[in-house]
């Protein structure tokens, strides 16, 4: 399908009386990486949650590849991979079990093969049968990346995706992300670091008080 891959139009969201997003408009082309900069409380995470179909907007639309994130939520979920700054993995399960579980949730064909490859790519192959509860913060974040990519999503939504990563982890993840982009994948990510935003993205957007302040 031609046209923008992700299109956000007149998006508004309030929690109670507090407006979080005020008339946000964004367009991301297929294969593009867009960085969302902004202070805490600017509305970055809420915007990502709406695009992922986790939160309903009060007004406006978010469309991925022509599909509405609210009306076509079930189809949209298959298109999205999400990495949050909190990993939210099942700590009682091993890395392998976590990936297989999410592979089954996304009905991934050959989930074992895919999980094994991803665990190697994020440098966790040797610890794949250990429980996530025993992992360091950086290792959990790497596994979180592997989980987000288990169903080979065309769109990655990344909320402060480098949280907790050391130099080695950052390099492994960048390689994984580069591969995703090279295969035509689109990314929308948030960060507080302007230099990282400029280095990793094709386009930087700044959110301030729920509005687009600068593109």
């Amino acid at each position: 399908m031609s046209g923008p891959y992700l299109e956000i139009t007149a998006l508004k969201k309030s929690y109670g009386l507090k407006p979080v997003l005020r008339n946000v408009n964004l367009v991301i082309q297929r294969g593009e990486r867009m960085a969302l900069l902004g202070a805490n409380g600017a509305g970055k995470t809420t915007l990502l949650r709406i695009v992922a179909g986790l939160t309903r907007p009060n007004a406006g639309t978010a469309r991925i590849d022509g599909l509405d994130c609210v009306r076509d939520a079930q189809q949209v979920r298959s298109l999205v991979g999400f990495v949050a700054h909190q990993p939210y993995l099942y700590e009682e399960l091993t890395a392998w079990e976590n990936l297989l579980f999410f592979g089954r949730m996304y009905s991934v064909a050959h989930a074992e093969k895919r999980a094994r490859k991803l665990l190697q790519q994020v440098g966790l192959a040797r610890r794949m049968h250990e429980r996530v509860a025993t992992f360091s913060r950086g290792q959990v974040q790497r596994l979180s990346w592997a989980r987000a990519l288990v169903h080979t999503p065309p769109l990655l939504l990344l909320d402060e995706p480098e949280t907790g990563l050391d130099t080695e982890g950052t390099q492994l993840i960048e390689a994984l992300w580069t591969e995703h982009t090279a295969q035509g994948g689109t990314s929308l990510f948030t960060t507080h670091q302007q230099e990282r935003a400029l280095a990793l993205s094709d386009c930087v957007v700044t959110l301030k008080d729920g509005k687009i302040a600068k593109v």
Partner: protein, 225 residues
């Protein structure tokens, strides 16, 4: 893969995950089991059990212990996932919300059932009543299904609030009154058969069907933001 096949696979995967997590953390089922046994012991000492009032007291004590112990497990069904944030991850997946409900319900049935299997012989010994397993089985099965069907839905409602431990029993107890009455009367009837009893088992099955259907249909709206 057909939609039905995907639905079944996802339900089994969620159930497998919940069982594995629970068996490793041992957070809920141990507490449920101990609680059920303690309630039975307390009731045993609290009531003056003579042969003539045993049939009136024992079934009530048994079902109170089952229902109270169930609350502990039901409270953790969704709350544990919400507290850890993993519920959002599950909701991000293209999984039918009915599959999540069904998996959680089956998990609850399994854990409550496990507690009941342990508690029943203790109940029989403490209250000195014969354990007629074949007759008791459908009563326990349909009674537990009714409690779990409502409890699973209400646990999703309660988990979205801060006062979830307080809210869950307030939501569940009024709704399960019919099924508990039916279960107690049926259990009592096994100990001291009485004539002209209403068809309690049929009522319990009808209750289960209605609440199971209603819960499956409404779970999606309860679980999502």
């Amino acid at each position: 893969m057909t939609t039905t096949r995907i639905f079944i696979n996802q339900t089994i995967a969620i159930l497998w995950k919940d069982i594995r997590c629970e068996l490793r953390s041992k957070q809920t089922w141990m507490g449920m089991g101990l609680f059920a046994l303690l309630v039975l012991v307390i009731f045993n000492f609290a009531f003056d059990l003579r042969v003539d009032n045993k049939a009136a007291v024992a079934p009530g004590a048994l079902w109170v212990s089952f229902v109270f112990a169930s609350m502990l497990g039901l409270g953790r069904t969704i709350a544990a996932e919400r507290e850890k944030g993993s519920l959002d991850r599950l909701l991000l997946c293209p999984v039918d919300r009915k599959a999540i409900y069904l998996a959680k319900l089956l998990g609850n049935l399994l854990f409550i059932g496990g507690v009941e299997i342990v508690a029943l012989p203790v109940f029989a010994a403490l209250f000195d009543v014969p354990l007629v397993v074949a007759s008791l089985l459908p009563i326990v099965l349909f009674g537990t299904l009714g409690v779990a069907a409502i409890g699973t839905l209400c646990s999703a409602m309660a988990a979205a609030t801060r006062a979830r431990e307080l809210l869950l029993p307030i939501l569940v107890f009024p709704l399960i009154v019919p099924v508990v009455i039916a279960a107690v009367r049926l259990t009592g009837d096994l100990m001291a058969p009485s004539a002209n009893e209403p068809p309690w088992l049929g009522l319990m099955i009808a209750f289960d069907v209605i609440f199971l259907s209603a819960s499956m249909l409404t779970f999606e709206y309860v679980i999502e933001e």
